[in-house]
Symmetry: C2
């Protein structure tokens, strides 16, 4: 049955929403570009094997799969989803970026600073404020093993946020190697790391006691859990200095990043957070997340993923990336009503007796002066017509005649 609604979990955007979205995208794009990032576009559709075969974690369960077409689709011989689908919609921008880089390496600079903005798709059960598609704004530096890359990315993202008028945020920093040393230091085995990290990740939500009881419910050794908490407490009290012996590499890395960003930051905070985990399996060392100070939720996140290109083409290429949660930024700015682009939209009203050619000639001229000029034939109820124009953002109107005077709405 035909419906006027978009499919469940999908969205349309009205002019006032779209205007804010475009504005935010352009503001972010401008800052990214100014730091030397170059915009690329990757396909929205990927081969299904590329989507399912990587480190996509939970996201691989949320793929919108596309039915094979033509003679490739053999319904009788198909017994699984894999037989039916050969393509899928991308669920993030990182996986397509790695494929893109692997494919175009020879056409790109040795150190490639990539900028990507666009929609991603995840077949999550939609709910209030949760959609199956949303935009991401990513920057990544591929080919730089030094943490100049981290510094550049952090400073650039922070500048983009400040540029949008978002002042109160906190950058949280950790290193996967520190996390690993923490878990192994408590006596856990390497293969247990990922599972324990999943629980540690919930520290802000369920607290220390919650973490302990979840680890206990997973039947881990009580002594090891106690040791893990002891080290965790120490890191919590002493901060980064407590990491120096636990993970010298992680310590050196974060310390160098702090040395630069602490000096150059403007207004925002950057802190070491030993409970920061970040979900994606592919991160190898630095991980970061930006939290809005008042709202307490994450508005950006990323990290270093030095093994992903190698897993595709067998060549070691270091990489680090950061993704802004575009939808949250837009929601934030829409709520605050902060955006006024100073557009002056004018309506020109003409009547039956006017020659359309003269009316249009005047409109074309006025368009050089005002942001937008739209031509409408006068309705019988002019007052009502003008009221509607004002409601839809027009700043004033002109009644077509010999003199083209703009009358601005009050």
């Amino acid at each position: 049955m035909k419906t006027t609604l978009p499919p469940k979990g999908m969205r349309d955007f009205l002019p006032k929403e779209k205007e804010v979205r475009e504005y935010v995208m352009n503001q972010i794009r401008e800052v990214y570009r100014s730091s030397g990032f170059q915009e690329i576009e990757t396909s929205f559709i990927e081969n299904i094997e590329n989507l399912t075969g990587g480190d996509g974690g939970e996201n691989t369960k949320l793929i919108f799969k596309i039915l094979k077409r033509g003679e490739k689709l053999d319904l009788d011989a198909s017994s699984t989803e894999d037989d039916l689908a050969d393509l899928g919609l991308r669920f993030d921008l990182t996986l397509p970026l790695v494929r893109f880089y692997s494919n175009n390496k020879n056409e790109l600079p040795t150190i490639f600073k990539a900028l990507q903005m666009g929609p991603v798709f995840r077949a999550e059960r939609p709910g209030k404020g949760r959609f199956s598609t949303f935009a991401q704004c990513d920057i990544d530096i591929i080919g730089d093993e030094s943490n100049l890359a981290e510094v550049e990315i952090i400073l650039t993202i922070a500048k983009a946020l400040k540029n949008l008028g978002i002042e109160k945020f906190k950058i949280k920093l950790n290193d996967r190697r520190i996390l690993k040393a923490l878990v192994m230091g408590a006596g856990f085995l390497e293969y247990e790391f990922s599972d324990i990290a999943i629980t540690l990740d919930k520290f802000d939500k369920i607290g220390r006691a919650g973490v302990i009881s979840e680890l206990e419910s997973k039947a881990y050794d009580k002594v090891k859990i106690e040791d893990l908490m002891k080290i965790t407490d120490e890191l919590g009290e002493k901060g980064l200095s407590a990491v120096e012996t636990l993970s010298p590499e992680g310590y050196k890395n974060l310390n160098e990043i702090f040395e630069v960003v602490d000096v150059l930051k403007e207004g925002y905070d950057i802190v070491f957070d030993h409970t920061l985990v970040r979900g994606m399996g592919y991160y190898t060392s630095t991980i970061f997340e930006i939290e809005h100070a008042d709202l307490g939720y994450s508005i950006a996140g990323g990290g270093r993923y030095d093994n992903m290109v190698a897993s595709m083409i067998g060549i070691d290429v270091p990489a680090v990336g950061f993704s802004i949660g575009f939808e949250r930024i837009v929601d934030l700015l829409m709520e605050e009503g902060k955006i006024d682009q100073g557009h002056v939209k004018i309506a020109m009203i003409y009547s039956e007796k006017d020659a359309l050619v003269d009316v249009m000639r005047s409109a074309m001229k006025l368009r050089e002066e005002y942001t937008a000029v739209s031509v409408y034939k006068a309705k019988k109820k002019l007052g009502k017509q003008l009221a509607q124009l004002q409601k839809f953002g027009y700043k004033g109107f002109i009644i077509y005649g010999e003199e083209l005077n703009v009358e601005f709405f009050e």
Copy 2:
């Protein structure tokens, strides 16, 4: 198997391509907005019934269908594609616009001037220069039954093309009512109109003789075909004036449009073309197409589709739209190499001995002055490093030190 290529028929865009695409989009967007069109965004994904149930013509055979998810997918009970897929990717921007308008009518002005830019997807057999996804740039006016709408749309599209440096083009105009009168005037029956129109549409490609032989091969009456050709020849010789008695409504409509556009056009041509058909089944009166004068192919097309909203919500709402074939415009401009945005990208080179914090502070300052500043650590082979930077569009470089002098490449 994982691959580094995008799926067949899909595309990635390198920085230099993406830069042109963004530039073209923004140039078009600016002109559209200036004429009072408001940008909206519609879902890339539609309910499958909406895609298949309309007047999409051939496009409904080219839908990328999305597999149902979770418990909704019952492989055992599925015997057709319809059982397996509940969603599909949009194949144009018009159908989603009509759904959007129908859904949001009360939030939109009585006369709604819509601007939409974005990708559409058609599962065509990909070939050289033919892809399964491409961008469209549409403007539509919904709610205006007068041909001010046509005039506004034609002048706006023409201005957008000229603004991009495309000077040589020809706007071809026809009216479906004229076409119908032509076919019925030769004695054909109403239900035969669409099929005959399909053949007439090939006039530029197969010529007069080709049209006759195709109609004969379709077993139409030879006398009627002869009559059809006679009227066609007359229209070809006498132009619009020959239409006055054949289709008074069509004549009046086109005449009024010519009266305005002929006077206000700048450089381009606008002509009556009685062989212009336009494929889509939903057009009701005015149809138009823009042809590049040298290349001889169409770069934009559209028409009036007064019945589409009614077919969705049962309320008569007039509508007219024009779509720019974005990919052809981009190809054209890439070939001509016409685009220079005057960006000044600078590289800043530092060495091991420099403090990263000072280097970054300088870079941040320089970013206020140049379009983009990117920081790189000096390589052993500095000459080779600089040559690569130049190759990738950097205009000059700075060796970090006490004085930050830009050395421009020659």
